[in-house]
């Protein structure tokens, strides 16, 4: 996987949150996404997009994220990252 700048990483995380693969950031606590949740979200996005599930922001994944698309989420917000207690 290419090494990403923090800006690219933020963009990728925003994208995943926007389309339902990550829970939206908590504006009160500012809690960060865990690495595990991020990997899981990337894999879900790749699976949904028909890409190889690498779990990282590779070129194919970044390319698909730049493809024009519908504004609506692909999965209900945060479903991928949530777990039953």
């Amino acid at each position: 996987a290419p090494s990403l700048s923090s800006e690219q990483l933020d963009t990728g995380v925003d994208w995943l949150s926007k389309f339902g693969y990550l829970p939206p950031p908590d504006p009160v606590t500012g809690q960060l996404q865990t690495k595990e949740a991020l990997t899981k979200a990337i894999k879900a996005m790749q699976r949904f997009g028909g890409l190889k599930e690498t779990g990282v922001f590779d070129q194919a994944t970044l390319g698909l994220m730049k493809t024009p698309r519908c504004s609506l989420p692909d999965v209900s917000e945060g479903t991928v990252g949530r777990r039953k207690r």
């Binding site: 997009g49 028909g50 024009p68 698309r69 519908c70 504004s71 609506l72 989420p73 692909d74 209900s76």
Partner: protein, 444 residues
């Protein structure tokens, strides 16, 4: 997908293009409306849903071209990125509404790969508007990513994946086989019948018996799909919702409204039925019901079906105030409930209850400004809102306010001017006229 699917509880859904692309050089308003019509038809062809274009602000599916943050929680982001979205069915005010990013270069039948194909995106978004969510299936129109044009709107056939999903929500439309899979025989060899779109009429021969719109009184007037139709003899004129004449030349009734007798010399009254949006024509003691511009089977039928007396009809219109249909004949009027299909009790009543209206109307219609309009002779009267009294300042001239005529103007062949003349916004060039054709250029 993990998002629960909602669906409409009703099967008749209205739609309206509320705002258009700012840069309309590529796509004119009529083209945008036609593409929306065909994109919705893709779904209604296979599922028991019926879409009807309407005027006014209460359409189920409001279509907008907007940009950046437009106060719905889904801001657009300039060219590329997110290009459109639609709201799922439900009880919310925004349910069904569909928004296109006006920063995109919307195209149709573009010769190259540039731009965003409006028809392809509209089919996808209307899928959301009827309850479908995104899918990962590669062949599906409901994949979230833009995949380019999908071909001719008149021949587009949904992928089987999408058909199955919409059938799961709404069931299968009658006459559609849900067992035909890709690669099998086609469902029909003929393309489906489509609502006629405005034609280029520049080469249409001017009929010698065509009436003069500027000096006529009209047999019937109706608002249909938000547009105004003025009927006279065997002809009619059509005005867009912005009150622009589609053509200065009248069209022949039987050539547009398919199924009326070819020898029908006039109609008495016309109205668009609330609920199912079918169009009803009255002539004498008979009536016909149209779905779009095709007559339904089993018509004509007697007007006694409505509980009307066997004397014919002067006028028919739906009052926006209560959704009821009003019939006028001579000095009386009746109130009919099109949903329950029966005449309300207590009618007929004396038409003088509508203060300021003359008896023996030609016809009436409601309009997108919420008012009702009544026509007789060369005059018309306006009754605003839910009142039953004519507004001050009426009657006014139909020809001047509706049909783009100036005073003393005539466009009958006999009255053709001998030199270039401007009538309203149209310049006529008799020097270029030959063999019965007339050459005009529009200036607005």
């Amino acid at each position: 997908s993990l998002i629960p699917q909602n669906k409409w509880n009703k099967r008749h859904l209205s739609w309206r293009v509320r705002t258009y692309p700012k840069d309309s050089a590529l796509l004119g308003r009529d083209t945008v409306r036609a593409l929306m019509y065909y994109a919705l038809k893709v779904w209604s062809d296979i599922a028991p849903l019926n879409f009807h274009e309407v005027a006014g602000s209460d359409a189920d599916i409001q279509i907008d071209f907007t940009k950046a943050d437009h106060d719905d929680g889904y801001p657009f982001d300039g060219p590329g990125g997110t290009v459109a979205h639609a709201f799922f069915p439900g009880e919310r005010f925004t349910a069904g509404d569909t928004h296109f990013d006006d920063d995109e270069a919307w195209t149709f039948r573009s010769p190259d790969s540039h731009g965003m194909d409006l028809f392809a995106v509209a089919v996808h978004e209307f899928g959301h508007a009827i309850g479908l969510v995104h899918t990962s299936a590669m062949e599906s129109i409901m994949r979230p990513y833009y995949q380019g044009p999908v071909g001719d709107p008149l021949k587009y056939d949904l992928p089987y994946e999408d058909k199955v999903r919409v059938w799961q929500l709404y069931g299968v439309r009658d006459s559609v086989s849900h067992t035909i899979r890709p690669g099998g025989p086609s469902q029909t060899a003929e393309p489906p019948v489509l609502l006629d779109l405005p034609e280029n009429r520049s080469n249409v021969l001017l009929a010698q018996d065509a009436p003069d719109r500027c000096s006529s009184h009209f047999d019937a007037v109706a608002q249909i799909r938000g547009e105004a139709f003025f009927f006279k003899g065997k002809y009619f004129w059509r005005l867009t919702r912005e009150k622009h004449l589609v053509s200065l030349r009248p069209a022949q009734i039987h050539r547009f409204w398919r199924g009326l007798p070819t020898n029908l010399d006039s109609v008495d009254a016309v109205y668009e039925r609330p609920g199912d949006h079918k169009i009803v024509f009255f002539k004498g003691l008979k009536y016909w019901v149209f779905k779009d511009n095709i007559v339904e089977e089993g018509y004509p039928r007697p007007i006694s079906d409505f509980g009307l007396p066997l004397e014919g009809l002067d006028a028919a219109f739906v009052w926006l105030h209560n959704g009821k249909t009003y019939f006028f004949k001579d000095n009386h009027y009746w109130r009919y409930d099109d949903h329950l299909r029966h005449m309300d009790l207590g009618y007929p009543k004396d038409s003088t209850l509508w203060k300021g209206l003359p008896p023996h109307l030609d016809d009436a219609m409601s309009w997108s400004d919420g008012s009702s309009y009544f026509f007789k002779g060369k005059d018309y009267w306006r009754v605003p809102g839910s009142g039953m009294e004519v507004e001050a300042g009426y009657p006014r001239l139909i020809a001047k306010d509706w049909l783009l005529c100036t005073e003393m103007q005539s466009d009958s062949p006999d009255a053709e001017p001998k030199s270039t003349e401007t009538r309203g916004n149209v310049q006529h060039h008799p020097d270029h006229a030959e063999n019965g054709y007339e050459v005009c250029s529009c200036t607005s």
